[in-house]
């Protein structure tokens, strides 16, 4: 069979059908409508979908009819795979752009916290300073992109930290930070909001408002300066310091 000939027949058939369907007056000059662009298809999966911190997972993606494909904003091949080692539960976004529009797909890698020994408030070894204990027990909490509400892991961490802060009578400063993609001034207000979210969580857990000070550093004090999601995630954080 001559394949191209049969294709042409199909196209002619479709054209005729269109003309009938649209009630087109017969004008020999009427150009045929352009074929609609083919729909963009995007698939993204993570394997395994759940890991322990320190382990890695493989992201696999495929697309159809896409001209630009980006994984979390970084240009990638139309299909492929990549190994990731997130330290927090992370949602990866695939965006495929083609003539008919943009199609997105997401996959989440859930990171189970390493079983940490439950905090032992007492007895504190005498050779550990307050600063060391603070740094060990009151860790940074992280935020989703352009979000200022605490994630469940952050809420849990702050509930634990609050017990120690209360017991020690510490005063803390909460420093809100953002990744470097947003605008300088808006990021200062977003950092403000992130710091306030942690402050409200500590207050809910029994810390007095006067024991907490907040400041926003916006995107002015990044921990990490590479342009990738791992690094951006490290910068979207509240950092805690012990005030004297």
């Amino acid at each position: 069979m001559n394949k191209s000939k049969s294709n042409r027949i199909v196209v002619l058939g479709v054209l005729a059908l269109l003309m009938v369907a649209s009630g087109c007056k017969k004008k020999e000059t009427a150009p045929p409508p352009p074929p609609p662009p083919k729909a963009v298809v995007a698939n993204l999966s993570a394997n395994p979908a759940s890991i322990q911190a320190g382990q890695s997972a493989t992201l696999t993606w495929s697309t159809e009819n896409a001209t630009d494909v980006a994984l979390d904003g970084n240009k990638v091949d139309p299909s492929g795979s990549q190994t990731v080692s997130p330290t927090q539960t992370t949602t990866y976004h695939l965006a495929a752009k083609g003539a008919s529009g943009t199609q997105e797909a997401t996959a989440q890698v859930e990171v189970a916290a390493k079983p940490t020994p439950t905090p032992t408030p007492a007895p504190t070894p005498s050779n550990v300073t307050d600063e060391q204990l603070f740094a060990q027990m009151v860790k940074d909490v992280y935020f989703d992109y352009d979000k200022a509400d605490l994630r469940p892991d952050g809420q849990q961490a702050l509930a634990q930290a609050a017990q120690l802060i209360k017991q020690k009578g510490w005063k803390v400063q909460i420093e809100g930070n953002c990744d470097d993609r947003g605008s300088t001034e808006y990021n200062l207000s977003l950092g403000e909001h992130r710091a306030d979210s942690a402050k409200q969580a500590l207050i809910r857990n029994g810390i007095g408002a006067d024991a907490i000070k907040t400041i926003s550093y916006g995107k002015e004090k990044p921990q990490c300066s590479e342009a990738n999601e791992d690094c951006w995630q490290k910068n979207r954080r509240d950092h805690f310091t012990l005030l004297h």
């Binding site: 630009d68 943009t102 352009d146 400063q173 300088t184 001034e185 808006y186 207000s189 402050k199 907040t214």
Partner: protein, 452 residues
């Protein structure tokens, strides 16, 4: 399909919309409207010949200063965006240094075919530079003089540039619908070239870049006062961000009251009597406040979250545009200067950094129009006609473009862009042409154009 639309009562700006509404049908979502802003009232652009000024004497300083003067004058008239400059290759071989040497017909006839001609002479005498400059209507048979000016200053390259700027502004004011030129205006910006972020200043064309603040921590968001005497900015202290004030007359930081919480992104009313800013002093979240110019009597105008980057309508000072994250991603809002009558101006994407045009009719802002995780596309500068909410795109060249600020004549916009790989300050005419990179050393951001 050409639609012509006149914005509001504006005398200086037209929008020409070349849209494809009837042609495109279902394709219209993908097609970008092509829009042009006319800068010169729809009149024909004056065709100006800019003859090199002649050396008036043989002093050793005359030739180098004349070169600086001639380059600066040419660039200023070119940058103005309201002239057609006649190419120098068409000029007659005889250049006049004064009116008695002028053969007007040789300039008014083709090939130069100039409408107006500027010419003159420059000479250095005992440490002073003397400049005589003229502007003549060479198309008119009587060739009347439009302008004749004389300048005398210290014989330095800086003063040669300054004289050229003043003369250019005289010409622009005379031929450009009475709107004063901007050649003597200043741009303030943030630079990290000293090792940390400080406020710097430069001439409008990028020349003469100088460090202003020496805070030693982080200085952001410079906003020059309407009279050019004081610079408000956000400074990081030991425990918070505070609005700070630098006197350009005393060359030092002057007192400004500290407020609780973090305080940043100041803005001046165009009459110099009020300052708006963002502060977390009330709720712990950023809200817009307004205070007297000395910082006294601060009162809260907005009750949002993520409220930042206020800017006054410079025509009336009766409205403030700002950014709020109250519904999620940041959007542009406008309210009356007493906090009432809040209107949401943008409704999609990530919209920040509003800048109100001097005539009060347009908002420039930075917008990631199609925003979402993983979506390809950067932040561009857009202009919104406030009355109709019609939006046009000013930058198209990729990268993250942010912090637009209007020139005093409303014909130019300065902004930051990382299109070359790192943040630099650029300027562009409001019709999208004449794009220029103004900074190259270090990283430079948040430009703010002086009021005059």
């Amino acid at each position: 399909m050409v639609k012509e639309k006149r914005i509001g009562t504006g005398k200086t700006i037209f929008l020409l919309l070349l849209s494809c509404t009837s042609l495109c049908g279902f394709l219209s979502a993908a097609a970008q409207d092509r829009i042009k802003i006319e800068l010169n009232m729809g009149q024909e652009r004056p065709r100006i010949a800019v003859a090199d000024f002649k050396a008036a004497n043989a002093d050793a300083q005359t030739a180098p200063l004349n070169t600086v003067f001639n380059q600066t004058l040419w660039n200023d008239l070119d940058n103005a965006g309201i002239f057609d400059l006649v190419a120098k290759s068409f000029y007659p071989s005889q250049t006049p240094g004064q009116p008695s040497e002028l053969n007007a017909k040789a300039w008014g006839d083709p090939p130069p075919n100039a409408g107006v001609l500027t010419f003159g002479n420059l000479g250095v005498n005992s440490g002073k530079v003397d400049v005589q400059g003229w502007l003549y209507d060479v198309k008119n048979p009587g060739a009347p003089q439009i302008l004749g000016k004389q300048y005398k200053e210290d014989a330095t390259p800086d003063m040669a540039r300054t004289i050229a700027h003043r003369f250019a502004d005289e010409i622009i004011a005379r031929l450009g619908s009475g709107i004063a030129g901007i050649a003597e205006s200043q741009i303030y910006f943030v630079s990290n070239r000293s090792g940390n972020k400080e406020i710097w200043s430069m001439d409008y064309d990028g020349a003469n870049q100088k460090q202003v603040t020496k805070l030693g921590s982080i200085a952001l968001s410079p906003r020059i006062s309407p009279d050019g005497s004081r610079l408000a900015f956000s400074g990081l202290t030991k425990d918070s961000w505070q609005i700070m004030m630098y006197s350009l007359e005393l060359n030092r930081t002057v007192a400004f009251p500290r407020a609780g919480g973090d305080n940043f992104s100041p803005a001046w009313a165009s009459d110099g009597t009020k300052i708006a800013f963002s502060s977390s002093m009330h709720s712990g979240l950023s809200e817009i406040f307004i205070a007297d110019a000395n910082g006294a009597g601060a009162r809260r105008l907005s009750t949002g979250k993520g409220d930042v980057s206020p800017v006054f309508n410079p025509k009336t000072n009766g409205q403030i545009a700002w950014v709020s994250g109250r519904t999620g991603l940041p959007q542009i809002y406008v309210m009356d200067a007493d906090g009432s009558n809040v209107q949401k101006m943008t409704d999609q994407g990530y919209a920040v950094s509003p800048a109100w045009s001097p005539n009060g009719l347009l908002l420039a802002f930075a917008w990631v129009r199609n925003y979402g995780p993983g979506v390809l596309g950067g932040s561009d500068i857009y202009l919104m006609d406030i009355a109709s909410r019609q939006i046009i795109q000013l930058t198209h060249d990729g990268g993250r473009n942010d912090f637009p600020s209007w020139s005093p004549d409303g014909r130019h916009v300065v902004f930051q862009s990382n299109r070359t790989g790192n943040e630099q300050v650029w300027s562009v005419l409001a019709d999208g042409t004449h794009l220029q990179q103004l900074t190259r050393q270090g990283r430079n951001s948040q430009p703010n154009w002086s009021f005059k």
